[in-house]
Symmetry: C2
Subunit: 197 residues, 2 copies
Amino acid sequence: MSSLLEQLIEALRVLPGVGAKSAQRMAYHLLERERAGGQRLAEVLAAAMERIGHCERCRDFSESPLCATCASPSRDAHLLCVVETPADRLAIEQATGYRGLYFVLQGRLSPLDGIGPRELGLDRLAARLAGGEVQELIVATNPTVEGEATAHYLAQLARQHGVRPSRPAHGVPLGGELEYVDRGTLSHAFGSRSEMV
Amino acid sequence: MSSLLEQLIEALRVLPGVGAKSAQRMAYHLLERERAGGQRLAEVLAAAMERIGHCERCRDFSESPLCATCASPSRDAHLLCVVETPADRLAIEQATGYRGLYFVLQGRLSPLDGIGPRELGLDRLAARLAGGEVQELIVATNPTVEGEATAHYLAQLARQHGVRPSRPAHGVPLGGELEYVDRGTLSHAFGSRSEMV
Ligand SMILES: [Zn+2]
Ligand SMILES: [Zn+2]
């Protein structure tokens, strides 16, 4: 086996869920049938790793300082939805008719892993809540133990600034991950969110 | 969602078995946790798509005109093993103690798809069999209908040049693909190969 081929198989294993056998299958597939697609992937991947950073307002992935959603004048700035990951944000955007703004934690509170309010950018979130424009904070963290603890913390933070916290309702399976919930369920849960008490 | 991110998700779908959802998961994973690995993959992938061609002797993938196996003086040139794909060749190399040489068809006879002897490089194989060095042709095509038809053709070709054709024995499941056979089975099948009659 050529050394460059071995390097390719090894490099492909950086992808999640890709072990030695499927990395090998991917490498052979590209070499046999998808040279152009492989070249294209190499170019886009290099550009993406280099140029995609975080939106300075919502912390979602973005090529520019402000992401398209934050920069849009047609979104309702009275509604702010907090999610754990960019994938959660995308799931909500695709499944629901939500027209407010987002804040992406890029994680959840996890003191044992050294992830506190600072690591999640909650100082920036607090400043935004203090700004007076946000009226409702939709806390869409995952219904896991850490996600619930994070939600509780965020609800308190909202109330401190006179902002009403709410949480998407029934439908998201307990212990599940928002990202993998079907669209219908997620849309329903989002529509019937309840105020946190 | 940023346009470059959308392009990355789309480009990842060139990989086999990767749909929209897993392409998205891969993109987020790389951006969140594997920037360096993603950069490395982009570089190796570009180099591999550009520089990996085929060995002019055995048709396996190779960066150089002659692959490492064909160039090695320690392989037994009296034994020649014919396989359908580079993955089959690798499976045999890893599972068995085979020390002969290979010939990679990069396919199998399939007249309806326009794949005949010429497309599989069988003129080159015939010239090699005529050379007099090869004593046994191990026909390790897959035990599928087309693989068996190809094996039959290759056995005839071998006999025409006074070369003994053989076929790996029991153990490879009927209708299966060599690439996915466990090592023990493949090694056994290879060791107890029988002469084709
Ligand atoms: Zn933003
Ligand atoms: Zn070779």
